[in-house]
Amino acid sequence: MRQIRSLLLRLGGLFQRSRQEQDLTDEFESNIAFHVEDNLRAGMTPEEARRQALLKFGNIEYTKQECRDRLGLPFLETFFYDLRYAARSLGKSRMFTAVAGVTLAFGIGATTTMFTVAQGVLLRPLPYAQPDRLVAISEVDRLKPSTGANVASADFADWQRLNTVFAGMASYGGIDERGLTSTSPESGRRVF
């Protein structure tokens, strides 16, 4: 809880830099002034009083930097500086930026296209209930087993009539394609 509060304040601190800076300067100055007064009261010369006060305070710039680091979030600030530097560098060499941009665009475009295809073809399940129970039946030409043979619609009608193992049959393909929901297609060239 305390850490969150601290973090939010430091995040907010990033936007109050000039006020914080003024605050630190004022505070350190007042510290030294108090010390000088004390030293004067102790009988020092004004020069010695100031010298001793400054000595005792320690390195002012270093202390300020420590305070700044604590007031803001140094790593975030460094990140923003880097970002700004990168943007400026890119702006300076336009040609390089253009080539890099086009390369990235093509790369992303090509990858997206390939993935879309792969997902549609390989990854997405078939749009039917229980796709794991679907099978394809086709005739095979024994002389040329590598090529699928077409099924005559009369043969399909016979298969369907004599079917005892499948819950249902439908045909697809060919010019006169029948929907897979149809139970009695007549002129498909292949069957399920």
Binding site: R5, S30, F34, K56, N59
Partner: protein, 116 residues
């Protein structure tokens, strides 16, 4: 520095010294706190006064102290720090923890006094 017995402030102890000082003394500015810490330590600690400021910022961010700009008795503008309610509770808890730690460490330093 010039005296051998002077020691630097140990890591993690400064925050509690600041809180305890504010608890005892009431609202104070940074210089007053640093001065007081040095005096309370019997001048055994060397504190460059600047070192307390990062600690003050941290304590304020954690909500244990609050600060306001005000004018001192001799008419000088200064930032005054005081304990918040959470700070008061925190001092109490931290002091207990320290006392416990000191007791435990003491047993290691004087093991012969340990009842068998």
């Amino acid at each position: 520095m010039s005296h051998q017995e002077k020691t630097e402030i140990r890591q993690g102890t400064l925050a509690l010294m600041i809180l305890k000082t504010l608890e005892t003394m009431g609202p104070m500015h940074g210089y007053g706190i640093a001065r007081r810490i040095e005096q309370t330590s019997g001048d055994a600690l060397t504190v460059p006064y600047g070192t307390i400021y990062p600690s003050l910022i941290k304590l304020e961010q954690e909500g244990f102290i609050a600060s306001t700009w005000d004018v001192s008795a001799n008419n000088r503008k200064a930032k005054y720090y005081e304990l918040t309610r959470a700070g008061k509770k925190h001092v109490h808890d931290e002091v207990r923890l320290w006392e416990q730690t000191v007791k435990i460490m003491a047993r290691f330093f004087n093991p012969e006094k340990e009842p068998v």
